[in-house]
Symmetry: C2
DNA sequence: CACCGTATGTCAGACTTCTGACATGAGCAA
DNA sequence: TTGCTCATGTCAGAAGTCTGACATACGGTG
């Protein structure tokens, strides 16, 4: 186990650290969601629908950071299992607004509590100011990355 | 396109923002790596090997945040294509130390420059102090998430 | 009106990554 | 020594996600 190499500049890369943090968060979420029989994307979809009922498949995909094809697969499963309901036909255009069923809402409740606990744990040891500046830093990175293609 | 809903607290969640930033970074990296015929994991593996020659499959997996099974699949492809070399048998134990071939080193050079440019773009508009505090914040989050299982 | 660009929902196939499992080898303790 | 624990490399199958493609529908401009 060669633990010590050169002064690997990966240790100084904010990009690498960002991926590391994101992975740690995903792993922690998977840990608490697995006992509930839920994946992270699964949960994300339900959470988005709880906060904005009527979102379309494509909107959900953007909100969960996956392609609309992936979200479609998930939505069909969630619909089949009774967590989500969509009209059979679009009232206007092709957009099918999705909604949580009572079962979906109930399932989300446990998951949401578990995920909130993870986020609280993640922020433990950070002051309000530190959280605020981290928030602004992440916003800035996102903006810069998306800007000049 | 209902863009305005309730005051979605996802907009205030550092966890959500973390995932958003990480996704933006991954997308930006994929954009510049695709013309080079490389994926992010592909690049990560080569970069790790450049900085710490002789890393094992399992070590590389941890460094690239994937399972050792996934890294093994990638490593076999990289070996087949001549980017990486591993001894046929372990000198001691089962660990097979991997190394970049000249071709791997050359391929990495272009990729590394492209990725560095992305990171520079990401940090544009942030002062040295802001970067430093973002660094500490991410480190803190990682530590807190991994600590109390 | 017709046209074109954009966005959506969906299907199909391929790729990547994961989980589960097994055998091997190092390290340590009894 | 024997036994136990942990880590590693690897194979096989399952699950998730992606790219590519198509038909459809809206919104603007000619």
């Amino acid at each position: 186990m060669s633990k010590e190499g050169a002064g690997v500049d990966l240790d100084k890369s904010l990009g690498y650290l960002l991926k590391e943090a994101s992975t740690a968060l995903r792993v922690a979420m998977e840990e608490v969601l697995r006992p509930l029989g839920m994946t992270v994307t699964h949960y994300s979809c339900l959470e988005l629908l709880a906060q904005r009922p009527g979102m379309s498949n494509s909107e959900l995909a953007r909100g969960a950071f996956v392609t609309r094809q992936s979200m479609n697969v998930l939505l069909q499963a969630l619909e089949r299992d009774g967590y989500v309901a969509r009209p059979a036909e679009a009232a206007v255009g092709k957009v099918l607004p999705a909604q949580l069923t009572p079962r979906g809402r109930q399932s989300l409740e446990e998951a949401s509590a578990a995920v909130r606990a993870v986020e609280v744990r993640m922020l433990a040891g950070m002051t309000e100011n530190e959280q605020e500046s981290a928030f602004r830093a992440l916003r800035s990175m996102i903006h810069s990355l998306r800007g000049p293609a």
